[in-house]
Structures are given as structure tokens and as C-alpha cells.
């Protein structure tokens, strides 16, 4: 009744192809943006930004990146943690080698370097498919982590093998290092997340996205209708790795400030982001955000409710957290194999017809 398209007339193709064709959706989206940009920065403190917002925004970028590769192009990858590490170490090397250049450029450059590495490790995808490709990308994961642990040049020969982000500013405001303000790091990451989502959305609904989806649905058919698998697959690896690299750079420089490759970018990270993509919904921009929110926010929420609110012992809570999140993942995948995004789509469809479904 409230949520409907009746009365909305579209007079151009652009309007017809809009991301949010319904007025209500458009306004909700704009309202969300306004709240995110103009309201949240005034309300958050160190806890909210470091425990909730930064991980959510950064994982959302990584999930967007992986979704392009797995969800849109159908190339299974388990190398996400390794590619995030490339982004982090690239950002570190750039930050320490060129301290006079703005941090924002370093983050983008780190993404570009990761894109290059991603293409390199994407080459096997031209020959191998499915599970076999997953194993090949797994090799990338282990190789990259090993490389950053093994070659001291990557961590500037520091005794501990850790990399830590020196202080860098943007317009005179500290973005990395210990003296940052919650709102500054939040807005910095928000800008990257919004830009990534915008780029990803427009790439995937254009010709490039259709090529990826054609490859995903049936690569031989795609080749017959004129899609070049070489460029389609490698561009998917490049774009995906770019986003993952940006996420890795932000994860290291802005969120944690110091990382150790084996711990921060191990195989667990690859699985975590793959779970986000699967639970959120393959081939959906909204799904990337929903998946990241689910995997990042739910544990924090459970912890605060059970340990903080109810005062249960922390070890019991930690075990329960794993059990609840695990059970929810199974329940979600059984109830809705296409993820949270599909749940959202179904809800919207039903809302359009409500209250007269027949």
C-alpha cells in the first residue's frame, strides 16, 4: 500500500534503469546517506568506530570485491586474505617510501598494485575452473603470506616482522596513527566504501558486468556470443583485487595500525569474507553489505548482550558466540540459499503487493 510503483511514471531509459526505481527506496537511500555522513560522525566514539563501524565498512569493501569475482564472474577464490595482505603491505611500503604524498593516493595505489597481483594469480583461471581454481587461489593465499613473512624488505627489516602505520594526515586531520579522532577515520573509510559501492554497482550493471555474468552462467556460450574469456576473467580478477587491496590497506593503516601478516591475513580471513559473500548473497551489492554486517556486528552484539548485559563468564560467551553464529549461518543457508539479499528482495516483492497479495 505504501511501498508501491503505482503512479510513478518513467519517461526516459535512464529513469527506467535507475538503481532505486521506487521513490520510497530512493528517499530511504538518500536518508541513509545523510545519516551516515552528517549524523553518525557526531555521535560515534572510539568504541563504536573501532569495534563496529570501521570493521563493517572495510569488510564491506572486501566483500564487494570478492562478490565481483565469485558472485558476478563465477570464479571461486580463496585468496582474499593474501590479496588483502598485498594491499596492506603495498600501503605500508608506499607510506614509508613517500611520506609526502597524501594517504588517500597511497590507498588507491595499494589497490592498483593488488589488482596487478590479482591478475597474475588469475591467470590459471583461464585453464582451470570451479574447485580446482579455488585450490589454485588457495596457493596464492599461502604463498603471499609466506612471502611477506619471509622477505624482510616488505616489513622494512623491522625486528618483529610487524608493520605499523606511521601518522599520516588528510587536510591536516590525522587519518592513521594513534592520534586519530573517531569521526575522521570513520568518514575516511565511509568515503572509500561509498565510492567502491558506486563503482561496483555501475560496473556490474553495464556491459562489463554482463560479460562477467555471461562467463559465470556458461563460459562456452559466452565465448560463442563474443565475450572474450581472457579479458572478462582477468578484468574480474583485477577489479575484485583492487577492492580487496583497498580494503586490506584500510584494514592495516586506518583500522588496526599494526599488523602481522600470518595473524591478520591468514586463511581465516579468506573464509570470513567468502562467508560474508555467500550469506549476504552472491551477485548482489546490497548482499555484500548485509553479509559484512552479519559477520561483523553479530559477534559484537552477542558479546555485549551476553557478557556485558547478562554478565555471563567471558569464556562461555565466546563459545556460545561461535555456536550461535554457526547455527544462524546454517539456518540462513537452508531457509534462503541465495542469502540475505534474496530475503530482502522477497520482502520487497511482498511489500509491493501488501495488503492484497492476490
Amino acid at each position: 500500500m505504501l511501498y508501491r510503483e503505482a503512479g510513478e511514471f518513467k519517461t526516459s531509459y535512464a529513469e527506467d534503469n535507475a538503481t532505486f526505481p521506487l521513490k520510497l527506496d530512493r528517499w530511504a537511500y538518500r536518508l541513509l546517506l545523510v545519516v551516515a555522513v552528517l549524523v553518525v560522525p557526531f555521535l560515534i566514539n572510539d568504541y563504536w568506530v573501532n569495534a563496529v563501524f570501521l570493521p563493517f565498512l572495510i569488510y564491506a569493501i572486501a566483500a564487494l570485491g570478492l562478490n565481483i569475482l565469485v558472485g558476478y564472474c563465477g570464479q571461486v577464490s580463496l585468496g582474499t586474505g593474501g590479496f588483502m595482505a598485498v594491499g596492506a603491505y603495498a600501503a605500508y611500503k608506499l607510506m614509508t617510501a613517500f611520506p609526502e604524498i597524501n594517504i588517500a593516493f597511497h590507498i588507491v595505489a595499494a589497490g592498483a598494485i593488488t589488482a596487478g597481483v590479482g591478475v597474475l594469480f588469475g591467470l590459471p583461471s583461464l585453464r582451470i575452473k570451479g574447485f580446482y581454481l579455488a585450490v589454485a587461489t588457495l596457493a596464492a593465499q599461502f604463498f603471499l603470506v609466506w612471502l611477506f613473512n619471509r622477505v624482510p624488505w616488505f616489513y622494512n627489516y623491522s625486528a618483529s616482522g610487524q608493520i605499523s602505520a606511521p601518522e599520516r594526515t588528510l587536510f591536516g586531520v590525522a587519518i592513521t596513527g594513534p592520534e586519530t579522532h573517531a569521526w575522521a577515520t570513520y568518514l575516511f573509510c565511509l568515503a572509500f566504501t561509498l565510492a567502491s559501492a558506486w563503482i561496483a554497482r555501475n560496473l556490474t550493471r553495464g556491459a562489463q558486468g554482463r560479460r562477467w555474468m555471461a562467463i559465470r552462467d556458461m563460459d562456452i556460450a559466452a565465448e560463442i556470443i563474443g565475450v572474450n574469456p581472457l579479458t572478462a576473467k582477468l578484468s574480474a580478477f583485477a577489479v575484485s583485487s583492487f577492492f580487496i587491496g583497498v580494503a586490506g590497506a584500510l584494514f592495516f593503516a586506518v583500522y588496526l595500525g599494526a599488523v602481522e601478516v600470518g595473524e591478520a591475513f591468514g586463511i581465516n580471513k579468506s573464509f570470513l569474507i567468502l562467508f560474508m559473500v555467500i550469506i549476504g548473497g552472491l551477485g548482489s551489492i546490497f548482499g555484500s553489505f548485509a553479509g559484512a554486517a552479519f559477520m561483523v556486528l553479530l559477534p559484537v552484539l552477542l558479546k555485549n548482550v551476553l557478557a556485558g548485559g547478562l554478565g555471563w563468564p567471558t569464556d562461555v560467551v565466546a563459545h556460545l558466540e561461535l555456536m550461535i553464529v554457526g547455527a544462524l549461518i546454517v539456518v540462513f543457508l537452508i531457509a534462503e540459499p541465495h542469502g540475505l539479499a534474496q530475503l530482502w528482495r522477497v520482502t520487497k516483492e511482498k511489500l509491493r503487493l501488501w495488503p492484497f497479495p492476490h
Partner: protein
């Protein structure tokens, strides 16, 4: 509505002094995951000591201690979350029990003005208090332990290590990599060959490293492990029949939980330690009476007297004594984190103090100063007796080789100061 709001406001006003009547100590523990075997006893000891002070003495200087426990799982992301969650409660000192989390927190806590006590772990060069005013690692550092282990090896092999080989088996992380610098220097000084054998976390898989040890037969194996990795390493050493008395662990690799799974084979395994072992100290009677028997213990009370429990208790003792010192310096009962830092920097413990606290001959005498945040840097060597099922100290407290370590600390801390634009100086 108005009266209710006014009541709330009044309540809030009244609540402020009530909340301040306590000393908040966060405990970033890990009771889950691959490091829980070592994390649980340490955390139990840490909390039980404060509970004892609350129950027996009514707190420290009459102010009760409130412990805020937060589970990190030895994971840096969760560690950061725990830090942010607890710092707002007025946390006095952080004891993260993880080198990775310590590295993470050093810049953050320095900016927020909260001291970190990374007791025998973390960044070694934090020993230089002029560069790291907020970080303390007394009573010793990894480099102290490395040097003490070399000294012991030298003693075992008759005074010289010339031409010998030492294999360093380590957790492939900041924690395990810390001693390499010192061991390299020491290998130059004493003429032994150092082989490095990294093990990736969490360390259940170390067959290839032990195969290499079996092939090369190094004269000594030094071990920097933690959590489940310790148990696996001891078992593997038994499997390849490595002489256990030539297998020496750092103080984080020598607890009951690490050696018992290997059974009788683990007999003779050695490690360093900076506290006494066992339950033969008067304090345990009090702990039993006030904490365990009243059901207020953090765990089930089964770890009392074990290596990690005693160490957690010692960490709490050092924090409590620093609070007392701070209370004396500043003449106030409810201290702030900044005052806590002053207390930690002025901390001094003599043998008489330990005895008065119910722990005679438990730990080396301690004196912290602005230039020296790492304390005495002494440790003893303890050996596992599998038949009796306990650790026994086989040496007295050994002093580390300051001649080698001090220049290394100066060099590393200066590099850090330069990188981060810190002008060294006392606060």
C-alpha cells in the same frame, strides 16, 4: 516525566562518585582458542590475587578493585575491541598477555595515557622508558631470556659454546621473532651457529621442523612457543628422541599444561622462569581460605601453584604494588592511569617486601626507573620432573648479558623514536 528526568539526572550525579570508588583493572584474557591452555591459568591467577586483596584487605588502600574481563582469543582485532570497550571505564593498566596485541596497543595506549604492563613479553626495546614512557616490561624481556638460555647452555657444555649449534624453534610472529636479534649477536660473541626454524601459528604442524632437528642434531634447541604449540613441540621432541635436557624453552613455554601430554618422555625438559614454582608459599593458604573456599575464584581453583597461575598472580601483585606506590606518591586513594604510570615507574620491591606479601623467595628483587622499564632481567632455569609431576628450579637467578642487550635496546628504541618523532626523555 519531568520528575523522572530530574531523578535520573540526580541519580547520575550521585552515581559518579560511587563509580569512582574503585580501581578498574581490565583483564584481556583468552579462555578459548589454541592458546587457552596457557591463557586460563594466567587469567585465574591474575584475577584471584585481586579478589584476595578485596576479600582479605578490603581492596588496595581501602579502595576495592574491580576486574573487567574481556575475551580476546589471542586475536588482535578482538584485542582492539576489548581495549576500546574497557578503556572508558577508567582502566588503570593493561596486561594483554599477547605480543601481537601489545604491539597494537603501544601507540594507542600512549596516546590515551594508559600504562601497559607487558610482563616478560611484548616489545623488548620498551625497556627504554625514555622512548616508551607508558610501556613497562619488568621483570625481564625476551632478550634477557635469550641471553640467560645461552648462559645456561654454556654452563652445561663446560663453559664454551665455540663450534656448537643452537636451533631456535619459534612461533612465526612478532613474539617468536623477538629473540633473533640478540641470539645473532650472542652467536657472534660466543661462536655458536644459530639455525632458525619458524613454525606457523597456531603450531600444531611441526613435523618438518623436527625432521630437520633430527637430521642436523643441533647441540641445543631453544624454543619460543605458546599455547597448543608447546604441547606439540614437547611431544615431537620426545618422538625424535631429542635429549630433553638440551631442549630449553622461554618462560612462556614451560608450564604444566605444556609438558603433561607428553607423559614420561617430557622428563628433563627445561625452561626459564622469573618466579618461583609450586604452592609452598604462605599466600596460598590465604588464597585457599578467602578466594577458593568461598567460591569467588575466577576458575575452578585447580591451577593454584602452577607455573602460569603463579605468574598471573605475580602480574597482579606487581600491579597492586604499583597502585600502592602511586597512592603514596600522589596522596590519593583513587588514582588515575597517569598516576598509575608514576607508581609503576617508581616501583621497588625488596626481598622483605615479598616476604611481607606472603611470597618469600618468590621472585628477584625489582627496581624500576625511567631509564629502565625492564627491571632486573633475571631468571632461573627450571626443569620438568615427570615422575613427581612438577617443575623444579635447578639454578639460582641468572643475570642476563647486559653488555650485549643494552646497546641493542638503545639501538632499537632510538630507531622507534626516530620513526615516530618522539624526543626521548623522562616524564
Amino acid at each position: 516525566m519531568k520528575t523522572r528526568l530530574a531523578g535520573l539526572a540526580l541519580g547520575a550525579l550521585l552515581a559518579v562518585p560511587a563509580v569512582a570508588q574503585e580501581l578498574v583493572i581490565p583483564d584481556l584474557s583468552y579462555r578459548t582458542g589454541p592458546y587457552a591452555a596457557n591463557g586460563i591459568p594466567f587469567s585465574d591467577g591474575y584475577q584471584d590475587y585481586f579478589t584476595l586483596l578485596n576479600e582479605r584487605d578490603g581492596g588496595i588502600g581501602g579502595v576495592k578493585v574491580r576486574i573487567v574481563e574481556c575475551e580476546t582469543g589471542y586475536n588482535t582485532e578482538k584485542g582492539v575491541e576489548c581495549y576500546e570497550a574497557t578503556k572508558g571505564e577508567g582502566a588503570l593498566v593493561y596486561q594483554p598477555l599477547s605480543t601481537g596485541i601489545t604491539y597494537q596497543l603501544i601507540p594507542k595506549a600512549t596516546a590515551d595515557g594508559i600504562p601497559i604492563h607487558s610482563m616478560g613479553y611484548g616489545r623488548t626495546s620498551a625497556a627504554n622508558g625514555e622512548v616508551f614512557p607508558w610501556v613497562f616490561n619488568y621483570p625481564g624481556t625476551y632478550w634477557d631470556s635469550a641471553s640467560i638460555m645461552v648462559k645456561h647452555a654454556m654452563e652445561v657444555s663446560g663453559g664454551s659454546l665455540e663450534g656448537k649449534t643452537i636451533a631456535l624453534l619459534y612461533h612465526n610472529s612478532a613474539y617468536g621473532k623477538e629473540p633473533i636479534r640478540t641470539l645473532e649477536e650472542l652467536s657472534k660473541k660466543h661462536g655458536f651457529t644459530l639455525t632458525q626454524l619458524p613454525i606457523d601459528a597456531p603450531g600444531q604442524e611441526q613435523k618438518s621442523q623436527w625432521l630437520q632437528i633430527r637430521r642436523e642434531r643441533p647441540d641445543f634447541v631453544f624454543f619460543w612457543g605458546w599455547g597448543v604449540m608447546n604441547q606439540v613441540a614437547v611431544q615431537e621432541a620426545v618422538n625424535v628422541r631429542y635429549p630433553m635436557d638440551h631442549f630449553i624453552g622461554v618462560w612462556w613455554s614451560g608450564a604444566e599444561n605444556d609438558v603433561t601430554p607428553a607423559g614420561a618422555g617430557a622428563d628433563g625438559y627445561k625452561s626459564t622462569n622469573f618466579t618461583g614454582v609450586g604452592k609452598d608459599f604462605p599466600i596460598f593458604a590465604d588464597l585457599q581460605k578467602y578466594v577458593v573456599d568461598t567460591g569467588k575464584a575466577a576458575g575452578d581453583g585447580s591451577y593454584l601453584g602452577q607455573v602460569q597461575y603463579n605468574r598471573g598472580m605475580y602480574a597482579a601483585l606487581l600491579a597492586a604494588e604499583a597502585i600502592k606506590t602511586a597512592q603514596e606518591i600522589h596522596g590519593t586513594k583513587e588514582i588515575t592511569p597517569a598516576q598509575m604510570r608514576d607508581g609503576m615507574e617508581a616501583l621497588e620491591l625488596s626481598e622483605a617486601d615479598y616476604a611481607a606479601l606472603g611470597l618469600p623467595n618468590f621472585a628477584p628483587e625489582l627496581k624500576v626507573s625511567c631509564q629502565n622499564h625492564s627491571g632486573p632481567g633475571k631468571a632461573l632455569i627450571q626443569q620438568w620432573d615427570a615422575t613427581a609431576g612438577k617443575w623444579t628450579a635447578i639454578t639460582d637467578y641468572i643475570e642476563s648479558d647486559r653488555e650485549v642487550i643494552d646497546p641493542l635496546i638503545a639501538e632499537d628504541s632510538e630507531a622507534y623514536a626516530k620513526e615516530n618523532g618522539i624526543t626521548p626523555g623522562c616524564m
